[in-house]
């Protein structure tokens, strides 16, 4: 009798430990991918069957609540700034000398024509807070051993996915692959990361590909060129005023 109880307790706490682990893993991976105090430069290439477009950008971020992105090329888009403060996003367009707060109707629109939506850029913590996480397996990707983690949305979480599956490197917490499914189990989006390189003081995957699983030939490729993780910045930097001045 006591043994049974003890055994159950052990198993129970083991299970709980595993849950905590999964969420913790996802949190760390999320922070690594999106939410560090950093200043980076990157290039983004949008690929479509008929055309492709490349742009370069500079970004600053403070945790997962604040960031600013400055488009540095091509000429027509140069000088555009996107500012995120918590749940809100602003867009400064030098061509019209105006900054506009992105309304709900635009949140699901693509960001700069890519396969990312404005929503994706704003609700960064979603994977951590809106889902339950469970480790369902392991796989080796690009030479890294990864946890395969299944995320099921919480009943009242404002997310449209039915399920998300992440592959996160066991040691380094790189989010090497992500798959987004709708409620019927159909794959809608796929993300993969590769080209791990040393940036500043750490190793991170520098190339990220987002693919529309329903439209072959539609993808967006983001390549991180430089990164500075010891960047010191205050929340006050992330202001509408600063949008006009940042270089």
């Amino acid at each position: 009798m006591p043994c049974l109880l003890a055994c159950l307790l052990a198993v129970g706490s083991g299970l709980r430990a595993q849950e905590v682990d999964a969420r913790g893993i996802v949190r760390r991976a999320n922070e690594l991918a999106r939410g560090l105090n950093s200043q980076t430069t990157a290039s983004m290439t949008i690929e479509r069957p008929d055309w492709s477009r490349e742009m370069t950008m500079k970004s600053w971020s403070l945790g997962t609540d604040y960031y600013m992105i400055l488009i540095t090329a091509p000429a027509r888009d140069k000088g555009q700034v996107f500012l995120k403060r918590e749940n809100d996003m602003w867009n400064w367009v030098p061509r019209v000398q105006r900054s506009v707060k992105i309304p709900p109707s635009m949140m699901n629109q693509s960001w700069m024509g890519s396969d990312l939506t404005n929503n994706d850029l704003v609700r960064i913590d979603s994977l951590v807070i809106d889902y339950t996480q469970e480790i369902i397996g392991a796989e080796t990707i690009e030479g890294y051993e990864t946890y395969q983690i299944e995320l099921i949305p919480l009943p009242e979480a404002p997310v449209v996915w039915g399920k998300v599956v992440l592959w996160i490197a066991k040691e380094d917490y790189f989010m090497l692959r992500a798959e987004y499914y709708d409620e019927d189990g159909e794959l809608i989006n796929r993300q993969s990361a590769s080209d791990v390189k040393m940036m500043d003081d750490r190793e991170i995957p520098t190339r990220m590909v987002m693919e529309d699983a329903k439209k072959p030939g539609h993808r967006t490729v983001m390549v991180t060129e430089t990164a500075n993780f010891s960047y010191e910045v205050e929340a006050s930097f992330f202001s509408q005023q600063q949008m006009r001045n940042v270089r």
Binding site: I46, R53, V93, R95, V100, P103, M106, M112, G113
Partner: protein, 406 residues
């Protein structure tokens, strides 16, 4: 011989014949007027739809199902002249349509944006008429026309600069500052969550960063509304796979269905009208048959075979009705033509409703030979049916009883 006899019989009882004629006449004239009015209305609805969409529309392949500006097409001079060269084409109206956020001060509203050639647009949809403040757009200027409810929400007026912001061609950002030249009314759009704005075609192309000459649709105007389908096929063949060619019936299905539903109602009422007239006719014919029994009896007795007698009666009725129909047609034609040239003006609140749908506020009458033919035919068929009753009567005629009146 038969005919002369029948004809004289008809006019022997002048009053009755005239009255019967009058009934037929009335039914025919009323029927024609009603149908002419209905067709006139349908014509007006179609005209207003076609003025907006063209008889035929040319888009990029797949545009209709997924209206993205990435599926826009080039309206280069070569393409345009190819289309214009097709038989029956009178004009081609290029448009560039998309969405944008329109912002003024601290207010922003999503809005439809239509880039068009102001002069051509006005020629077909009378857009300039809708302007309530300011001045209508001019080609090539960097101006914008705002829907009244949009302007009110933004707090923007004529002369103010508004920001247009949105997704441009192939992922580029669409952003521009344009000056409000006019504010227009379009009451059908009141209460909708999105606004509407018109800009000159080149301003739209610049805003959305498209290649030059780009359009989302080409509205093709024909000189003859009846040759739409063959012309559409010709154009489809001419233009190839990157384009899709649709007729207005495909792009404005609801209008087609509305007309159908209404037409059914109209036919139904016509049927009632003719049934009533038919009964009236039947009454007259039966009465006359009964009254003339003695006459028939006598004629039969002196040698006129029953079959010939029956034939005479048959012809009498048909003749009478034919005259009625003819007179009805003759009477209707000038009336309809007069109304066709001078449609009845609508007054009061109805005017607004009509203008919203871009239909001029008149009750139009259509001249369509189909109407005349169809109704003439119906009446004649009716006559044939009615005329067969006396035949039955004749067959059952008993000479002696008829003559002696028993």
């Amino acid at each position: 011989m038969l005919w002369t006899l029948a004809w004289r019989n008809v006019w022997r009882n002048r009053r009755r014949s005239v009255l019967t004629l009058a009934t037929i006449l009335l039914a025919v004239v009323l029927g024609l007027l009603m149908r002419s009015m209905q067709y006139g209305q349908y014509g007006a609805m179609i005209d207003s739809t076609v003025a907006r969409t063209g008889h035929i529309q040319v888009h990029g392949e797949g545009y209709w199902d997924n209206k993205s500006i990435d599926r826009s097409i080039s309206a280069a001079a070569a393409t345009l002249s190819e289309i214009r060269g097709a038989a029956g084409v009178t004009d081609v109206v290029p448009r560039f349509e998309s969405f944008a956020l329109i912002s003024f001060g601290d207010r922003t509203k999503p809005s439809g944006v239509i880039g068009t050639d102001p002069e051509v647009e006005d020629r077909y949809t009378a857009l300039a008429n809708r302007v309530v403040e300011g001045r209508y757009l001019e080609s090539g200027e960097r101006g914008v026309m705002l829907l009244r409810s949009l302007a009110d929400y933004l707090g923007a007026g004529v002369g103010d600069e508004v920001v247009l912001l949105g997704g441009g061609y192939r992922g580029q950002t669409a952003a521009d500052l344009l000056t409000v030249t006019a504010i227009f009314e379009y009451t059908m759009m009141d209460g909708m969550e999105t606004g509407l704005a018109y800009v000159p075609l080149d301003a739209a192309r610049e805003l959305y960063a498209t290649p030059p000459d780009q359009v989302t649709s080409l509205a093709v105007m024909l000189d003859d509304g009846d040759s739409i389908d063959p012309t559409a096929t010709v154009l489809a063949g001419l233009l190839g796979d990157e384009y899709e060619v649709m007729t207005w019936r495909e792009t404005s299905k609801e209008v087609v269905q509305q007309i159908q539903a209404d037409s059914v109602g109209g036919i139904f009422m016509l049927a009632i009208l003719y049934t009533v007239a038919g009964f009236g006719l039947l009454g007259t014919v039966l009465m006359s048959t009964m009254e003339r029994r003695r006459e028939f009896g006598v004629m039969n007795a002196v040698g006129l075979r029953k079959s010939r007698l029956a034939a005479v009666l048959f012809v009498e009725t048909v003749l009478l009705v034919s005259v009625g129909v003819l007179l009805g047609l003759l009477l209707s034609v000038p009336i309809i033509m007069w109304f066709h040239a001078n449609p009845i003006p609508i007054s009061g609140e109805l005017v607004e409703v009509f203008e919203q749908f871009n239909i001029p506020p008149y009750m139009p009458f259509a001249i369509d030979p189909g109407i005349f033919a169809a109704q003439g035919l119906v009446v004649l068929v009716m006559a044939l049916i009615v005329a067969s009753f006396p035949i039955v009567s004749i067959r059952r005629l008993h000479i002696m009883r008829a003559i002696t009146g028993r």
